[in-house]
């Protein structure tokens, strides 16, 4: 691994650990984010390190408590979306035939439909939806990319010798999927999980910014919502709106860096292990599809 890459992994891990600790332990160390006992829209000072909002709330407290809110939503969303992606993608690859056609069509369609308006249409009906509901809605729209990647990988695994051997020895489909195929997908699933976390944090921020979901639960997104609706952008109260956006961007950066690191590791492994099959067994277009190939070869859409 080149030194540059090692650094990008270190930065990624460092940032991620920082934000996770902030979300878990941080809220014990700061005051009540909703308390309105500070001075009104004051800049940063000793008493309030990141200043206060227009009604005298402490921005730092909001930022730390908001970290917990944001991370909870996107972890739940990513967990649900990953399970959905495995269910759809791997099923599609294992079943093949008509089922594969139908599931792939649905996956690809969900991939092309712009998600933000769709999420707005679903979540817009639920005034004051809680964190879990918002997470479910985000998951319902965020699984398709992972499903597609996992399907491509599972397809190539399906034709490897050890799977063929398992099939030949009479193992059932369910057992083959859980004990032969899934373990080999773990690095890819981890990378996809991080990808969905990134999607979820951006979408949650966007939704909260639009005022969808409960705007009284503190997240980085709801902080931006209140900043916007209190004219903080126009009044140049940077200490209020810069920190939450910066946190989202840095958290996202950590995810992108780790994601590409995992992708590289997984990809190397796949290149080394790619089997040389006899020509006769090789079906057209069924070469081993690495994660990177699948990412790049976006055109292989079985419509």
């Amino acid at each position: 691994m080149k030194p540059n890459r090692r650094w990008s992994v270190r930065i990624g891990v460092g940032l991620l650990v920082f934000f996770v600790l902030m979300a878990i332990a941080g809220p014990w160390f700061v005051g009540n984010p909703s308390a309105t006992d500070g001075p009104l829209h004051a800049g940063p000072s000793g008493g309030h390190l990141l200043g206060t909002t227009n009604i005298g709330q402490d921005v730092l407290s909001q930022l730390v408590v908001g970290a917990r809110g944001s991370l909870v939503v996107c972890t739940i969303a990513a967990a649900i979306a990953t399970v959905l992606a495995i269910a759809v993608g791997v099923t599609s690859a294992v079943l093949g035939g008509v089922w594969d056609e139908v599931l792939s069509l649905f996956t690809n369609a969900m991939l092309v439909i712009p998600t933000l308006p769709l999420v707005v249409v679903i979540a817009g009906y639920m005034k004051n939806a809680g964190a879990v509901v918002v997470a479910i809605v985000i998951a319902a729209t965020g699984w398709s990319w992972s499903a597609r990647i996992l399907r491509a990988q599972a397809l190539s695994l399906r034709r490897r010798d050890f799977v063929l051997a398992a099939r030949a020895s009479g193992e059932g489909s369910f057992r083959i999927v859980t004990f032969e195929v899934l373990p080999h997908l773990v690095p890819l699933i981890a990378a996809q999980f991080l990808g969905v976390v990134l999607y979820a944090i951006m979408t949650q921020a966007g939704l909260a910014f639009l005022g969808i979901g409960s705007v009284t639960d503190w997240t980085w997104g709801t902080m931006l919502y209140w900043a916007n609706s209190s004219q903080a952008f126009q009044l140049a109260q940077w200490w209020w709106y810069v920190p939450p956006g910066l946190c989202i961007a840095l958290f996202g950066t950590a995810l992108v860096l780790l994601n590409s690191a995992i992708d590289r590791v997984a990809d190397n492994r796949l290149v080394e292990r790619a089997p040389r099959r006899p020509m006769l067994l090789r079906r057209r277009g069924a070469g081993p599809v690495g994660a990177a190939d699948a990412l790049v070869a976006g055109e292989e859409v079985p419509a």
């Binding site: 540059n4 649905f106 092309v112 439909i113 249409v121 966007g206 005022g211 952008f233 419509a303």
Partner: protein, 327 residues
């Protein structure tokens, strides 16, 4: 041709899925929130609009779900999307068609600039790999992780409030009459720089990294080596040999990224009070204007599908392999 028909069929199927989702979603919601809304708009301005909403939301009607569905599909095909609540008594169609040109202008220009610039930078960063350019990559990760609308707010603070180079918000100078006069067009450009620039900066990383990845796979190819060995100028090797082949997958990923860019651009419009569909969406959410929300979802989806179809046509025009029937 076969390729084109396959893609067209796929987009038609996708449009149908979007239409169906649009029909199902309000019916899955607990306690039918639309019923309450209709108390506010007892008197619809025209009966056609009223009927379209009844079919779309399944209220004040005793027809079966299937016949409601058929009526709804027919209404949508005829452009009947119901009446807006927040812009009452305007129809949803008229509200959206007033806002759509602004979004097409803003997002279209920004996406084009971002795609061209990102692809060029991707080519450069792949060709100069191993040099200082590699250090730019973590920066692009940071750029791609910034929320569009937040970057917009920061841009307003720096370039409009502090430096005063660009106007704060809006799409044009309201004191100039809305005609195609040079001064009006100049004001549109002036007002468009900040929002479009925000979208470009936020979305450029995707094109850059995509192009870089494919370029890195293309550069070791024999024909690139041969071109270098022939003594061709570097620029020719890079653009006519390596990039020419690498750009196709990047064009294909254009399709998948567009939906995400459009979502971000919609939020950007809100920060800039830009009178496009994003701004209308904000109004719709704030006023619980469900017919408008759903109409926006449909129109935005159809626009994205059309743009994807255009990208596919460009792809087919550039890559002869797709034009040959794929057996």
């Amino acid at each position: 041709m076969r390729f084109f028909l396959r893609r067209a069929a796929f987009y038609l199927a996708t449009a149908w899925i979007a239409l169906t989702l649009n029909f199902i979603i309000p019916r899955l919601m607990p306690g039918n929130p639309v019923q309450a809304l209709f108390a506010r708009t007892k008197q619809a301005p025209n009966p056609q609009s009223e009927a379209a909403m009844q079919a779309a939301f399944g209220i004040n009607t005793h027809a079966g779900v299937l016949s409601q569905y058929v009526t709804y599909l027919g209404n949508v095909l005829h452009g009947q999307l119901g009446t807006s609540v927040s812009y009452y008594p305007a129809s949803v169609t008229s509200v959206i068609s007033a806002a759509l040109p602004w979004t097409l202008l803003l997002v279209g220009t920004a996406t084009l600039v971002s795609f061209v610039l990102g692809t060029l930078l991707g080519i450069l960063s792949a060709w100069r790999r191993g040099s200082w350019v590699d250090h730019v990559l973590p920066v692009t990760a940071f750029l791609s992780a910034m929320p569009y609308f937040w970057l917009g707010a920061v841009a307003i603070f720096i370039f409009a409030t502090k430096l005063g180079w660009f106007p704060l918000s809006g799409a044009y100078n309201t004191s100039i009459p809305e005609t195609f006069s040079p001064s009006f067009i100049a004001s549109v450009l002036d007002y468009g720089v900040l929002p479009a620039g925000t979208i470009v900066v936020s979305s450029i990383a995707g094109w850059l990294l995509g192009m870089r990845n494919v370029m890195l796979q293309t550069i070791p190819e024999d024909y690139v080596l041969l071109a270098t060995a022939k003594g061709l100028r570097t620029r020719r090797v890079v653009f006519s040999y390596a990039a020419r082949n690498a750009i196709l997958p990047n064009l294909a990923s254009f399709a998948l990224s567009l939906g995400f860019v459009v979502g971000g651009a919609i939020l950007t419009e809100i920060v800039f009070s830009y009178p496009g569909v994003g701004y209308v969406l904000f109004q719709a959410v704030t006023n619980q204007d469900y017919p408008l929300m759903q109409g926006l979802f449909l129109i935005i989806t159809i626009m994205v599908l059309l743009a994807n179809l255009l990208a596919d046509v460009a792809y087919a025009a550039l890559d002869p392999r797709t034009r040959e029937s794929r057996r």
